[in-house]
């Protein structure tokens, strides 16, 4: 039981990180569920149908997911505003319908035969990706990401290729979501397209918002709270969406950076300051 819960906590941490990485460059994505589905189905196809070992299958699945993200993200990321949110929502629905209609991937009935996902592998993935993200956070690339997120015009004036940086962030997020999908698929050993609903994508974003959008540890906290607490507190399990939604609302009103936040300015923390910001 406890191993079960910890496994799903790991998956949700990975997913929350995948949102975090794309939010680092200022793109809010509602397609992490779709990228998870791509990772799950692609890696499942490689291991169950083609007999590849798990590690290369994961790498290939992450690559495919990142490529899809780059293809769909490129036109939307060149634009300011809410276009990426729209494109990612569209992607979530399109991928689900496509999976339902691909008969070699089981179609609407589902796809099975994967095995070998367990808690140690999930924990290893969390630790590895966590280390990579931590290295990123102390590297110069982090400052480029920050510049793009805080003010893309200034970043462009500094000679940063804003679209490319956004594309990197968005694709990296998709790759991490694909790893989570691989683990999920090989743990459940049978998945259906409806497992990767738009509600999943929405929840994943809210995990991160709850924990704090501007650092690595917020995602861990948010995902852990929202996965583990409902398992042990009956009331929370019954009223999960309401409690969750109310918590997010209160949090955004009074602590817009999330529970854990220490860097002063982030993509989400500008209310009250926005009117003083230049260019508004």
């Amino acid at each position: 039981m406890i191993a079960d819960h910890l496994f799903f906590t790991c998956i949700n941490i990975l997913l929350a990180w995948s949102v975090y990485v794309s939010l680092l460059t200022g793109s809010l994505s509602f397609a992490q569920g779709a990228f998870m589905a791509v990772g799950c189905y692609a890696s499942g196809y490689f291991t169950a149908k083609m007999g590849l070992p798990m590690l290369p299958a994961t790498g290939l699945a992450a690559l495919i997911s990142a490529l899809i993200a780059a293809l769909v993200g490129y036109p939307a990321l060149r634009l300011r505003g809410i276009y990426l949110i729209l494109a990612t929502l569209g992607l979530t629905f399109c991928i689900r319908v496509l999976l339902e209609n691909m008969d070699f991937l089981g179609g609407i009935g589902g796809f099975g035969g994967m095995k070998g996902g367990d808690l140690p592998k999930a924990a290893a993935a969390v630790v590895l990706i966590g280390i990579v993200l931590w290295l990123l956070s102390i590297s110069p690339l982090q400052r480029v990401f920050d510049a793009v997120r805080e003010d893309d015009r200034v970043a462009a004036a500094l000679g940063i290729n804003v679209t490319a940086i956004r594309l990197i962030g968005f694709s990296a997020g998709a790759a991490i979501a694909a790893v989570a999908g691989m683990l999920y698929g090989h743990y459940m050993s049978f998945v259906r397209p409806e497992n990767f609903d738009v509600t999943l994508s929405i929840y994943v974003v809210l995990y991160l918002v709850l924990g704090g959008v501007n650092n690595l540890y917020g995602a861990i906290l948010g995902a852990a709270i929202m996965t583990l607490l409902p398992e042990y507190i009956r009331f929370l399990a019954d009223w999960r969406p309401t409690v969750f939604g109310a918590a997010i609302l209160v949090l955004l009103l009074f602590r817009p950076d999330g529970l854990l936040s220490f860097r002063p300015r982030t993509a989400l923390s500008k209310h009250g300051r926005a009117l003083n910001a230049p260019g508004v």
Partner: protein, 294 residues
Amino acid sequence: MLAGQIVNGLVSGAMYALVAIGFTLIIGVLDKLNFNHPEVFMFGGYVGLVALPHMPVAGAFAMAFLVGGLLGVLTEWMAFRRFVGNDARTTAALSSLALGLILTDLVHKVWGTEPLRLPNLTGWLSESFGLLGVNFLNLQMVLLAITFALMWALHHVIAHTRMGRQIRAVAESSAHASLLGVHVLRVNQAVFFISSGLASIAGLMLALRADTVSPDLGLTFGLKALAVMAIGGMGDMRGAVLAGLGIGVLEALMFHFGLGRLGELTVWAAMIATLLLKPAGLFASGHHGQEQRV
């Protein structure tokens, strides 16, 4: 057969358009996405479920408009008022999303997660008539008529009334409008009231046509209106109407030609294609089309 399908598509398209107009109004005035909008749309059906046994259909429509509008004002208060400025876009989207989660969960708790049947319509509305060998339901015609009447009324309000002028002024620039004496908060509330009321009416119409209400409609049918809005061009009402009708007919044609399994894909694929080729939307004219490029 085909003509019947096209009429069917027009009716769905009219509902898409009503919901999309709400999205586009709020985008136009506040430049923010209201993710509670699809859930208000869904709730309109439940207003009908409660109201229909007690009052005539017209009364239910009035109720739906009123309740939806009040929900819209509530949304503005809880999820948008604190988050001003262009930078708070994401925050406002997230907080309205959280509000939508709560609304859906409350509907689940009160009416259950399964679809419910509406009381059967009786009398003239449940009949149909034949014209040129095609069978039309009276209900469909009434729904179409109501939709176009509402759109005309909205156009009149925006184009010719004092409130409409103020709405257009705030859409142009809220700072300048407020300097000129426009009460921006009132305008925002009015926009939320109107847009959510229309969405709620659309929800009631969908419920009447399908005879059922379901708590999932917000995230399935309602979100599609968001794509319709993007296809039409953000902040552009005419575009929302044309795109809504077009997508409705296109979906009906997909079903007619046996591509029903891909029907769900139509609107989203069309939206992604639009974003690729003409990011400002097919009919965009407003300032949202410009100044979007980095």
